[in-house]
């Protein structure tokens, strides 16, 4: 029986898959998108922390030195993210890293990427928050920054503010259709032009095609929706172009597994992974001080006491993003909500440091907590080991997996962490406003923004992709997801991933004709549903 064929096969349906999926389908290409996770819609999401609900589409991937959170569903991490949608600072694109030479392709600067940022902001769409939209936690962080002599401002969000109920359940999907994931823009737009999305299809390997006119054969397993460790079948699709957008934790694994069949892989596949310099800390506020020092009162005799109220990300300070400061010393501080499933993380001063009586006392202050994410410049020190037999990692239980990634913190990264910790602590503990708590229950980095495991660049030794996102030595294979972003960004990366995917889509349309796909150019920005 002949293999199924298509013009374009896209692996993954997050930001990196949905955006080229739309543009190629709109331009007339036959597009099939394979997604390893299930397809959920609003009615499938819950406001529940019961194991077996949210972890049907969120994975915690435990690796050596790092724990990574990633989406596992149609829409990818856009379904689970906190919707902070920021442009990366200009200096990021000039970074030189530990190797001392430019990391980003010369063809990409912030100024040049602004065009693509604008398109994404319009398509999602991204909302600018007014102070009236900023929940209590964001207000407390802003007031604390202000009192410490720092600027602070609302964060642009991919949220429909007219629908948002400030319920703080963004991590389990959104039951109010307020969070603007890919399910509301690029994916329906792609499907309206005939793109076919197949959930629970986990791609394993890419091989040379057998059918004339097609370059690659993509093999997949059909995943059992009730047990993701089991497969219900398998298949192969041949394509003229393959877009690998399985996420930073998935893309390099598929490519590594394909290395023998494809005659080798660029050396940077599965190397130079960045955790976006993520560093999570916590503060526990003294309610009296919130009132007396910050002058805040949300109800009679209640100053803050509102950690679980609102949207998860609301305000941040850019004061430490000085473009003239040395590399690895720059970072952003952002206020964050963390659901109580991670309450083991923050430490206390005395042994045993993260459990016991003092920790129990800290837990009783949970409503006065705030989480802070410090986004620093890391040294791209993540390296993927050999791929598992199937999939991107080994599943251990509902939403828990063991991955092949190893992240050994470089001195430069630790230097940035130390500076960011000190800055956050100085702001939040000024005059006894709050106590500051770093993560103590694990030595592993807590990363929600994995990047760069198959990155673009101009140097073939340190970048697996050229500046058009094409895999070196393998014409017709493109990578357009977070794996392609070369460095940490000092801001949440979703908008940059999407902007790069927009830019890559434009380049892909030009290449498509060369690879035997008849497409017309110039897809309009999709209209949000």
């Amino acid at each position: 029986m002949a293999n199924e064929t298509t013009d374009v096969l896209i692996i993954g349906t997050g930001f990196g898959g949905s955006i080229p999926g739309y543009y190629l389908a709109a331009a007339g290409a036959k597009v099939i998108m394979l997604e390893r996770g299930p397809r959920f819609s609003t009615e499938d999401f819950t406001q529940s922390l019961r194991i077996g609900t949210f972890n049907r589409f969120i994975d915690s991937i435990q690796c050596k030195g790092i724990d990574v959170t990633a989406g596992n569903c149609v829409g990818g991490s856009s379904v689970t993210y906190y919707a902070a949608s920021l442009r990366a600072p200009s200096f990021i694109f000039e970074r030189r890293g530990t190797l001392g030479r430019r990391i980003w392709p010369k063809s990409i600067t912030r100024q040049k990427l602004n065009h693509w940022y604008s398109r994404v902001e319009a398509a999602i769409p991204v909302a600018e928050l007014s102070w009236n939209d900023v929940p209590y936690a964001g207000g407390v962080f802003a007031a604390a920054c202000n009192r410490a002599g720092h600027t602070c401002q609302p964060v642009p969000l991919a949220v429909d503010l007219t629908k948002c109920t400030n319920c703080n359940w963004m991590h389990t999907g959104c039951i109010f259709d307020a969070k603007r994931s890919m399910l509301f823009n690029y994916i329906p737009a792609a499907e309206s032009f005939g793109a076919e999305i197949r959930p629970l299809h986990e791609v394993q390997k890419i091989q040379p095609a057998q059918t004339a006119g097609y370059r690659y054969a993509i093999s997949y397993l059909e995943i059992d929706p009730s047990d993701y460790t089991k497969s219900l079948g398998s298949g192969t699709i041949e394509a003229k172009i393959v877009i690998v957008a399985a996420g930073t934790m998935g893309t390099p694994v598929i490519l590594q597994r394909s290395a023998v069949a494809l005659g080798g892989m660029p050396p940077a596949v599965g190397r130079y992974m960045s955790a976006n310099g993520d560093r999570v800390s916590f503060a526990a506020f003294n309610e009296d001080k919130v009132s007396s020092l910050l002058g805040l009162q949300r109800a009679p005799d209640v100053a803050y006491d509102a950690f679980p109220i609102g949207k998860p990300i609301n305000t941040m300070t850019f004061d430490y993003l000085d473009p003239k400061a040395p590399e690895f010393s720059r970072f952003a501080l952002q206020q964050l909500y963390s659901p109580p499933i991670v309450n083991a993380l923050p430490g206390v001063d005395e042994s045993p440091f993260w459990f016991g009586i003092d920790k129990r006392n800290l837990l009783t202050q949970w409503r006065s907590w705030m989480a802070i994410v410090e986004m620093t410049e890391d040294a791209n020190e993540g390296v993927f080991g050999p791929p598992p037999k199937t999939g991107s990692f080994t599943r251990l239980g509902p939403g828990v997996a063991s991955g092949q990634l190893e992240y050994s913190i470089a001195p430069q990264t630790q230097y940035g962490f130390n500076l960011a910790d000190a800055a956050a602590e100085s702001i939040l503990t000024l005059d006894g406003l709050a106590t500051f708590h770093t993560v103590a229950s694990t030595k592993n980095i807590q990363c929600a923004h994995p990047l760069a495991s198959c990155r673009i660049g101009d140097n073939p030794e340190t970048s697996a992709l050229d500046d058009c996102h094409e895999l070196r030595g393998h014409p017709g294979i493109f990578v357009t997801d977070g794996a392609s972003v070369p460095t940490s960004l000092c801001v949440n990366p979703s908008l940059t991933i999407a902007a790069l995917a927009e830019r890559a889509s434009s380049l892909l349309l030009k290449r498509a004709n060369q690879y035997g796909i008849a497409v017309k150019h110039g897809g309009a920005i999709p209209v949000p549903s």
Partner: protein, 273 residues
């Protein structure tokens, strides 16, 4: 969380614990047995024979691949392993497992004793702890598939407790499972070592610890709205807010509604320059 690298000698290889030869341990055990000669008829007593049996069982469980793989499989796949991998458990075994796991949970997030003779909970605070927060319900929650492995995990704790006692000159109460017979400070001291990344067997201990925290802080074995209705002690203790009458969370009052800081002078539309 993962169960891997289960090494029966994990406690001997920890950097914080001096390495002892088996013969030395046996000699200490014999001396301890002589010193604790008056025996008790209680089925939970820890004699030298029981200790050696336990150590042997742990060694077997962690070095004989099929058994270990069976447990790992149970934990990994979210489904129970084949019946052949289960340990036939007597009531006293079950009691010992539960008591040990409760004591473990209580060390992480302490609570008050449930009744005067509560031996699992050390009773160092007032109010609920991880045990009242449903730690045992969480560990037995079917989607985790962990229940068949709990006797082994409890045994793992027991063996660590016996060795901790031996190395620290602690006399165990032979009427109780070893970890339960330690006082709160001793339980804490053991967990500091067991949960340290330098412990090769840390993963098994930290997996249990994570689930105890999940039980108390999220009632992860219940839908949250149900847990709130039932007055889940952990959610109540951290102050998790109740939903609206329709069972959904919404917060119409959420903002101070005033500017509380100045934006960065070079920012534009909320973005850095």
């Amino acid at each position: 969380m993962q169960i891997s690298g289960m090494d029966s000698n994990f406690f001997l290889q920890s950097r914080r614990v001096p390495v002892m030869k088996k013969s030395e341990i046996n000699r200490i055990i014999e001396r301890e047995d002589e010193r604790l000669a008056p025996s008790t008829p209680n089925s939970l007593r820890m004699s030298r024979r029981t200790l050696l049996t336990s150590v042997a069982a742990l060694a077997a469980a962690t070095t004989i691949a099929p058994w270990a793989i069976g447990v790992l499989s149970a934990f990994a796949q979210g489904t129970g392993p084949e019946a052949t991998t289960e340990i036939p458990a007597s009531d006293s075994d079950t009691d010992a497992t539960t008591l040990t796991l409760e004591a473990y949970a209580d060390t992480l997030i302490p609570g008050e004793k449930r009744f005067p003779d509560d031996v699992a909970i050390a009773g160092v605070v007032t109010g609920p702890g991880a045990v009242q927060g449903g730690a045992i319900d969480m560990l037995n929650f079917a989607p985790l598939g962990l229940a068949p492995a709990l006797p082994l995990l409890a045994l793992n704790i027991s063996v660590a407790a016996v060795v901790y006692a031996l190395l620290n000159g602690i006399t165990l109460d032979r009427t109780l499972p070893p970890f339960v017979s330690l006082n709160f400070a001793q339980r804490t001291g053991l967990l500091v070592q067991a949960l340290d990344p330098s412990n090769k067997n840390q993963a098994a201990f930290s997996g249990l610890a994570a689930l105890c925290f999940v039980a108390y802080n999220t009632a992860g074995y219940l839908d949250t709205v149900v847990a709130i209705e039932q007055g889940h002690p952990g959610l109540a203790a951290i102050g998790f807010p109740p939903p609206n009458p329709d069972g959904k969370w919404r917060f119409p009052d959420f903002s101070y509604q005033r500017a509380l800081a100045k934006p960065h002078p070079h920012s534009k539309n909320g973005n850095p320059a």
